[in-house]
Amino acid sequence: MNEGTTPGGFAQRLLGLNAWLVFLFFYAPIVLLIVFSFNDNNNVGIWTEASFRWYGEMFQDDRVMGALRNSLVVALFATIVSTVLGTMLAIALERYRFRGRGTLDGIAYLPIIIPDVTMAVMLLIFFFQAFGILDDLLGINLTSGLLTITLAHIAFCISFVAVVVRARLSQLDSSLEEAAADLYANRWQAFRKVTLPLIAPGVAGGALLALTLSLDDVVVTQFVSGAGSTTLPVYVFGLVRRGVTPLINAVSTVMLVASMVLVAISLGFQRGAEARGQRLADPEALLEEISATES
């Protein structure tokens, strides 16, 4: 940046002030919530002394722990399936031309723009109808539960994974893949040895996004979960609607810290990817690395 392109002294100070106020706005509620979760008092607003009391109660609360277990199981399966499907979708859309590609492209983006309330309504009616048909035709009696939650999460995660992986794929030079083909790599080898390592940061980013979305979802899950199959956010949501308790503060803090750990991991992946990208951009360093691995 150069003198003359950025605003001068007074405007600059105003911009700086605005930035600090926005950061205060972003972080004050989060910090406050974390601080209050260590409050010993039964009353959320009255500070008595710091303690881990509510964390202790949280770990002994069977319903919280059950909901947490459900959340983790759903998120694990939803992430794995949607990452595989989303990555395949991204590769097909970005690297191939086939009939129906345009339609698929549109369908793939829709779950991202549609509000979650609508998505929830759609899936509620869908599972209701599907269960009815299965019962009539095959006599299978299914009810909503962890399976329906997982299926619903996969439905909205695929699109997000596909978008992230696609962003990465579009930055890649497809000539690298062609070079592999010229060197007699078959399709699978070219994918495994060239494409996959190059898009790995995108795939990891997509997987983390899917994990976050699955762990955070309230609305869709609330609609497709059955009795006894709540996830942690749905359980907390139900509690919060009835009122604020210190126990919720503790559970919320754990959820916040979990998301922050995920951000940290995701940023770590990107750092690694950037470093690798720079090595690729620097032929001498790359040559050195290759000779080092060969010797």
């Binding site: 150069n2 031309r97 723009i113 549609i114 609508t118 899936l123 439905a155």
Partner: protein, 319 residues
Amino acid sequence: MTVSEIPPTPPPGTPPPPPPGRPISKPETAEPVTPELEAASRRAEARRGFFIALPSFIYLVLLFVVPLLLVFVYSFATRDATGQTVLEGWNLDSYRRLFSAEVLEIFLRSLLLATVTTAICLALSYPFAFYIATRGPRVRNILLVLVMIPFWSNFLVRTYAWRVILGSEGPLSQISQALGGEPFRLLFTNVAVLIGLVYGFMPFMVLPLYAALERMDWHLVEAARDLYADGWTAFRKVTLPLSMPGVVAGSILVFIPSLGAYVTPALLGGARTVLMGDYIVSQFLAARNWPFGSALSFAVMFVMLVATIFYFRAGAKTL
């Protein structure tokens, strides 16, 4: 890839991507290839692409397109005496009810809150994104991480935090009482919902704005200054038009979820602040009027579509 490039949500209706590169493994051969062979290989390539896409295609059709059509069908259905939806006696009653005073009031309130939320987010985020984009690379990356953290943090928890803050036992209320004032009565009002919406969706505005400003060619601003434009004119004539794609994308990303918001009004709003999102939910979970709820969902989707198209047109005109 820099931090800003984890696309949390891509701008909706992203323009179609550039034509895809050559299929992965069509080797470039120097020898002339017969047209038949080339056509055959292209067909094989297309088939391969289709099969790679097929699992996701089936999944999305089954769990997205079919459900969407089902909602459409349900919106014309009737209910029996027990309130169960029956798929016969198709009618337009649910759509007629959309124009009742009750629904219009809720709809206008949602529209107003979503518009004000978008405006506030834009007003706060533009200078904020501008500030970040004009820092040196090191500071910029740190600031970006600080924006990403709330963005990835649990939405429910972030909204809940405001319930604690604005509550009658919350810190604001205590400060006001300590100063001899009244206990705070902001929770369960439109203002509380507005604060929650701005807080919840503002990162969606900051990131596209930042991306647009960061990509910008700042030499153009320099050129404008060289041509004796003052700072404000240069901003208005160069920076602002060039960052328009970010403004459009950010506004859509804030407006759409605000219009359909459910968690925020449910936690921070009261009986008199019902928005479209919680109204739809109540039709399904409380009133059990599925046909009417389906019609409401379609109406909301329609408004979003129109708003998105309109906004894109307007954004394109300013470019």
